[in-house]
Symmetry: C2
Subunit: 457 residues, 2 copies
């Protein structure tokens, strides 16, 4: 029967590339979460908006679920296809469509990798200021679908802030050209912002128009060794109030240990409990003053200012290499956020809660923190089965999401809800909000074919 259904699709779109080999089903059926067994029906690789619309019409007719798919670097299971879905991969849609130097808008197909888009921007003497470690694989469509954040949010905001227009094919099969690059447009509801962070549940993001920005001024990169978690926010505030900060990230001794184990060089002669790395507009005199003040206040133990681009890159590898260095330990990831004024109280409670929940587990803390976002990675002990490990982590995540609720935070800052965080959505969003989301999904996806089971049931 599935073969007949696929034959219908082949008949409707004879040019469409359609993969059904077992290796392809496995490759395209999973994302970086590795927790679900891929089991898609097939993989479709359209090349035009019209082909996407035809696939959606076919899916509506045959009641086949669709999973939109970009670089599959997601960490929440949003691009997993484990239930006979058709994976709709944007892999063949990676071209530049238009660039206009007058308003500096760049329109690309949604399958383009973030790194490619950033290179194109640089070629125009400008920047696309969203950036994160998975830049080489993550597709721009995926960054829109999750409202990706990354290491430049502090200065430049999330993906949402840079989206001037979207072409989407919604679950009705309608092609919507949303906002069309206008700076100002008060003409009814802004559907563009509804598709940002919708995780494929409303439709397929096919084309993206982004704003480009002036390049940042040259930066000085500084690494601080900190005596305690409590020192992080005051050091952040001291830098922010006295210098122009481009980015501010932190990580703990556990995270550094794994990065060093993966081959990086130790920055200091001895280990410290916590580290902060920051880029500030190049102005070393001011930076040294802030550094000395922090040392005198007992908030900084040691520090390094990069003397060259190569040194700056080496320092940044300590932060950017964390996710990859932890991967062999199949970490359970939390991606939480609170308002920064609530951070100290939330941290104290979360550390005590997780310390009690995971007395025997290694926990790596790192993240953006200047924007309120923490990544908490629980590492699986080698002796424990994956299933037992996930079960133990889920118990703690329930407590953590209650703690977040008390502090007005969110269970997902930048990874999305997907399958992984779906059980905890109701602690971040109210019942009335979730009911409204279900209603909105029904408007754009009346047959429930768009990435069903993700975000909410």
């Amino acid at each position: 029967m599935n073969a007949t259904i696929l034959d219908d699709l082949r008949a409707a779109l004879p040019q469409l590339s359609l993969l059904t080999e077992a290796a392809d089903l496995e490759h395209y059926g999973r994302d970086w979460t590795r927790r679900w067994t891929p089991a898609p029906l097939a993989i479709a690789l359209p090349t035009t908006v019209e082909e996407i619309a035809a696939i959606v019409r076919w899916a509506r007719e045959h009641k086949i679920a669709l999973v939109p798919s970009g670089g599959r670097t997601g960490l929440s299971g949003g691009a997993v296809a484990a239930n006979g879905e058709l994976v709709l991969s944007l892999e063949k849609m990676r071209s530049t469509l238009e660039y206009d130097p007058v308003d500096r808008l760049l329109t690309v197909q949604a399958g383009m990798a973030l790194e490619t888009l950033r290179s194109i921007a640089a070629g125009h003497g400008l920047q696309y200021p969203v950036d994160f470690a998975a830049r080489g694989s993550a597709s721009i469509g995926g960054t829109v679908a999750t409202n990706a954040g990354g290491i430049q949010v502090l200065r430049h905001g999330n993906t949402r802030e840079w989206i001037a227009g979207l072409t989407v094919v919604d679950g009705r099969g309608e092609v919507l050209r949303l906002n069309r690059g206008l700076v100002k447009n008060s003409s009814g509801y802004d559907l563009r912002h509804l598709f940002v962070a919708s995780e494929g549940t409303l439709g397929v993001i096919a084309e993206v128009t982004v704003r480009l920005a002036d390049r940042d001024p040259p930066a000085s990169t500084v690494l601080f060794a900190l005596p305690s978690f409590a020192a992080i926010m005051p050091v952040f505030a001291a830098l922010r109030d006295r210098l122009r900060l481009q980015s501010f990230e932190f990580f703990d001794a556990c995270a550094l240990k794994h990065v060093l184990h993966a081959g990086a060089h130790a920055p200091f002669d001895q280990p410290y409990p916590y580290y902060a790395i920051a880029d500030v507009d190049a102005d070393e005199a001011g930076l040294l003053e802030v550094f000395e003040a922090c040392v005198n206040e007992g908030r900084v133990e040691d520090g390094l200012i990069a003397a060259s681009d190569a040194q700056a890159s080496a320092l940044w590898r300590l932060r950017e290499g964390i996710t990859e260095s932890l991967a062999p330990h199949t970490p359970y990831k939390n991606d939480v956020v609170v308002r920064t004024p609530r951070m100290p109280a939330f941290l104290a409670e979360a550390q005590s809660l997780l310390g009690a929940a995971y007395p025997d587990f290694e926990v790596a803390w790192f993240g953006h923190i200047g924007d309120g976002n923490l990544h908490i990675n629980i590492l699986k002990p080698a002796a424990l089965s994956q299933a037992d490990f996930v079960q133990a982590c889920e118990r703690a995540t329930k407590l953590l999401s209650e703690c977040l609720q008390r502090h007005g935070g969110s269970i997902s800052a930048e990874h999305g809800i997907g399958l992984v965080k779906k059980p905890y959505l109701h602690q971040t969003r109210s019942d009335a909000e979730i009911a409204a989301m279900r209603g909105i999904k029904a408007v754009f996806d009346p047959d429930g074919i768009m990435n069903p089971g993700k975000v909410f049931d």
Copy 2:
């Protein structure tokens, strides 16, 4: 029967201030459009979110339409109550609720005037960077409901960009606390952005959390006299590419004539066809170079650089006084936007179209232009009746909206759709988009009581 319905409301909320005098009905029933005859049922002035929710429940029960009401400075009829609606005025909800210096978020009740909010920000050494001439009367809730733009969009964006959280009461009577001030939050659909620019059709905006920003550096104000419309975009590009622009506005000889008639002083010894006013980060040497280059290229005829804050204010009054100086001529207003690269072609077509449509009418052109937004005001000849004048203008607006559609523009940049632009919405938004908007409205407002007849039917 109406008296009985109001008695029910009085019984449910004995403390609620409820106005029914004819003068109040007229005062609260209209906005700045003055085209409809006010005829509300009554005016309710709640003081808390809970009172708003109780009013919505009462309205659902009795099928009474609600018109949310702020400063009623709107120019699209979005706050008009001409059909027996209950006006829900936020006038008594003007207080500050919270300010946190760590993340610089300010939460206020939605009835606070924009000018008050800007003063509070200044008191904290920061700025709220949305600003426009009606600042003294416009409520912050109204600026959210229309996604207000104004004179600082070029550098700082629209209202949307500054909204970190909203408390709304939707048409179901549900209190939604949206985004709650988080910088990053990828946890399902962002309903906050749906309420921005919703013009009261989804619910009542009750409380607003805004981000505050560092103050802009000191500015130099410059006024240019231009020989032609065609000179405006190249002068804008020259300033933007070589200097840090804070704002860029233009106006034509007709607009200046009316401002001078209202009492302003002429900036130059002779009139010119067009003028541009800009604030650039103070750097006079660079500014003079750009000025001289523009003169040499024949794009600037004369210029003034303000030598004091008083002179800068006097120059800005030439731009900011336009709307008030035109008011005695009951202008028909268009608030259009295209992408800036399309501006020259659009302008040529629009000028020829409007010249043919209004051979005998005075037309004042002004606006923000650096963000693609033009205001085109048609002045009513004294001898013509208001009805005949509006009818003539509507014929031309139909042509203009078709022209905008060809150039990918929008019929409303920052005023909203309301009643005034409703007939032209389908030329800016596709049928599939409008159908989705209707579906979204039904989710939040199942009984259709929230500002019915505005934006779309």
